[in-house]
């Protein structure tokens, strides 16, 4: 334990004093600040229209002010924090010759990798909490709205999901820094994976859906085919952690969203019901809706870390 704590403390100090962390934090804080500020101003101007809304505070995070909302922004650029924090965590120590020194101290070998991962998670946690608190303060000042207890719980769940999401990317970059000897390669590989999973999977999902369930837009469209097409597209795009994360957080931040699906088959009675009773979901139900997403994200993070752990433990130290 003492070894784990020593590594953890050192890595945490390194993160907070490194320029790259300061730059990233400044960038992310600035953009989320601006986007929530825009959302806040927008809300203030249309306060009458919003009078009917039940959860105005959460709109600071979810409403798209000028370009994108804070939630969307974290979905896109959150991974970058995870990647940048750890893409050289192991291979730099190996290149500098400090890794062999570390493990010739009386500590268990896994203390090194656990300490590094936990320090990264702690950094991410502190960073996200700070941003959410700053934006909440901004909301209090600009719009003058006070969060209710349910809104605070929803923000809490949002934070937990975000921490796991960014930790997944942290685990990915640790994995690459173990498997690639060169720092440039591991940086490139992690960025390539990020781009692939975040941007290309949705493109690929379209291609897959169109080839399995082609929709002929020239002729009379077949509704069954259209739904099948959309279902396949949604299923394939769930391979991307970004989609998992965005769907989960958008549902948790917006209580009016009752499902993560874009097309829902409804009979006439159900349709009538849903238009008559436009009520928000209780928190428990929202969590239930996104439970599969949350489980998948946590599992992805753990699997990724477990793979790095195993590789690190059996790797010859001198190669």
């Amino acid at each position: 334990m003492q070894g784990l704590y020593a590594v953890f403390k050192k890595e945490l100090c390194d993160h907070f004093s490194s320029y790259r962390f300061v730059i990233l934090f400044a960038l992310i804080a600035m953009v989320s600040f601006i986007s929530s500020y825009m959302a806040g101003i927008h809300m203030k101007e249309n306060l009458e229209a919003l009078a009917s809304t039940r959860f105005p505070f959460l709109m600071l995070f979810s409403s798209t002010g000028a370009l994108f909302s804070m939630v969307q922004f974290v979905a896109f650029f959150g991974p970058l924090i995870g990647l940048v924090l750890a893409f050289d965590s192991i291979n730099r120590e190996r290149a500098d010759g400090t890794l062999i020194k570390l493990i010739s101290q009386p500590i268990y070998r896994d203390a090194v990798i656990n300490g590094k991962f936990l320090a990264g998670v702690a950094t991410i946690t502190i960073m996200l909490i700070a941003i959410v608190l700053v934006i909440s303060g901004l909301g209090l000042v600009i719009v003058g709205i006070v969060p209710g207890i349910e809104e605070i719980w929803r923000l809490f769940v949002y934070l937990i999901i975000s921490i796991f999401y960014i930790s997944f990317w942290l685990a990915v970059s640790i994995l690459f820094s173990i498997s690639f000897k060169s720092i440039a390669t591991s940086a490139l590989a992690s960025i390539a994976l990020w781009i692939f999973l975040s941007f290309f999977v949705s493109l690929g999902a379209n291609v897959v859906a169109d080839s399995i369930a082609p929709v002929d837009r020239q002729k009379e469209p077949n509704p069954e085919m259209i739904i099948k097409n959309i279902r396949i597209r949604e299923m394939v795009s769930l391979c991307s952690p970004m989609v998992l994360y965005s769907e989960a957080t958008q549902t948790i931040i917006d209580p009016m969203r009752k499902t993560t699906r874009s097309v829902v088959l409804m009979g006439p009675m159900e349709e009538l019901l849903s238009s008559r009773f436009q009520n928000p979901l209780p928190l428990g139900q929202s969590i239930l809706v996104i439970f599969p997403h949350m489980t998948a994200l946590v599992a992805l993070t753990l699997i990724c870390f477990a793979i790095s752990y195993v590789i690190f433990m059996v790797q010859e130290i001198r190669t």
Binding site: G97, T98, I103, S104, Q105, P106, I107, R318
Partner: protein
């Protein structure tokens, strides 16, 4: 005086993929001696040291360090044995004291005790003036001395030194060897020293072992090796001549 055995290996073997790095290595190091570990590059010396430290798993055979099996009890072995690798690495953006403090914390030494110890060790290796300098700006000789401070922080009973004089100027190498000798004499630290600097090794070693192609071809005092090869006393033959003789025979 009967010296007790501190390191003992029996048929220690290590394969890397299909290559054999160390083959059926059996040797002994007695407590309190300086053991010169000689051999050409790639003979398997570093691999042997790593296995003795429990950093690399042997493919076969066994080792005992202070009666402990480094494979089963690596933590205990690392607590009593210090390892100084060939290219000792430091965190370049931290200063000497910060580097040492990190190692001290990894060894579970309390902060207040560690500071005291670090001062004493920096004084011992002659880096007192550079204590607050970033290690990235250190010369090779300074790094090597800082490396010694680092392995001494845990008060080891045993030191594994892998080519400590490589890349040092002749004067620096000489002083380092004398430093090693003083560690052995004043602190009763057993030293397993791998080096190519045969002249220096001859001066400070009690016994030597010559390793070629993963096998120990000779082990004993320099005198006995000379006798075995040339049939005369050590006085007339240097370690270098003995070493070359062994090397040509293999």
């Amino acid at each position: 005086m009967e010296a007790s055995t501190i390191i003992e290996t029996v048929n220690l073997t290590k394969h890397y993929n299909r290559q054999t790095a160390v083959k059926d290595l059996s040797f002994k190091v007695n407590e309190g001696e300086v053991f010169g570990f000689l051999g050409p590059n790639g003979a398997g010396k570093t691999t042997t040291l790593l296995m003795l430290m429990g950093l690399s798993h042997p493919s076969g055979g066994s080792a005992r360090v202070c009666g402990l099996d480094p494979l089963r009890k690596p933590i205990e072995v690392k607590r009593i044995a210090g390892y100084l690798p060939e290219n000792v690495g430091f965190y370049g953006d931290l200063d000497a004291v910060q580097n040492l403090k990190y190692v001290a914390s990894l060894n579970g030494i309390q902060t207040d005790k560690a500071s005291e110890k670090i001062d004493e060790l920096l004084d011992l290796v002659g880096l007192k003036q550079d204590a607050r300098k970033k290690v990235g700006a250190f010369s090779r000789g300074m790094k090597q001395r800082l490396g010694f401070a680092e392995v001494l922080i845990k008060d080891p009973k045993l030191l594994f030194l892998d080519e400590p004089t490589i890349g040092l100027d002749p004067d620096g190498a000489l002083r380092l060897m004398e430093f090693i000798k003083s560690l052995n004499r004043d602190r009763q630290i057993t030293v397993l020293l791998s080096s190519h600097n045969l002249y220096q090794v001859q001066k400070i070693s009690h016994r030597v072992g010559i390793m070629i192609h993963g096998e120990m071809v000779a082990e004993g005092t320099i005198e006995s090796l000379a006798k075995e090869k040339f049939g005369v006393g050590q006085k007339e033959y240097s370690l270098e001549e003995i070493y070359m003789k062994y090397f040509q025979e293999v």
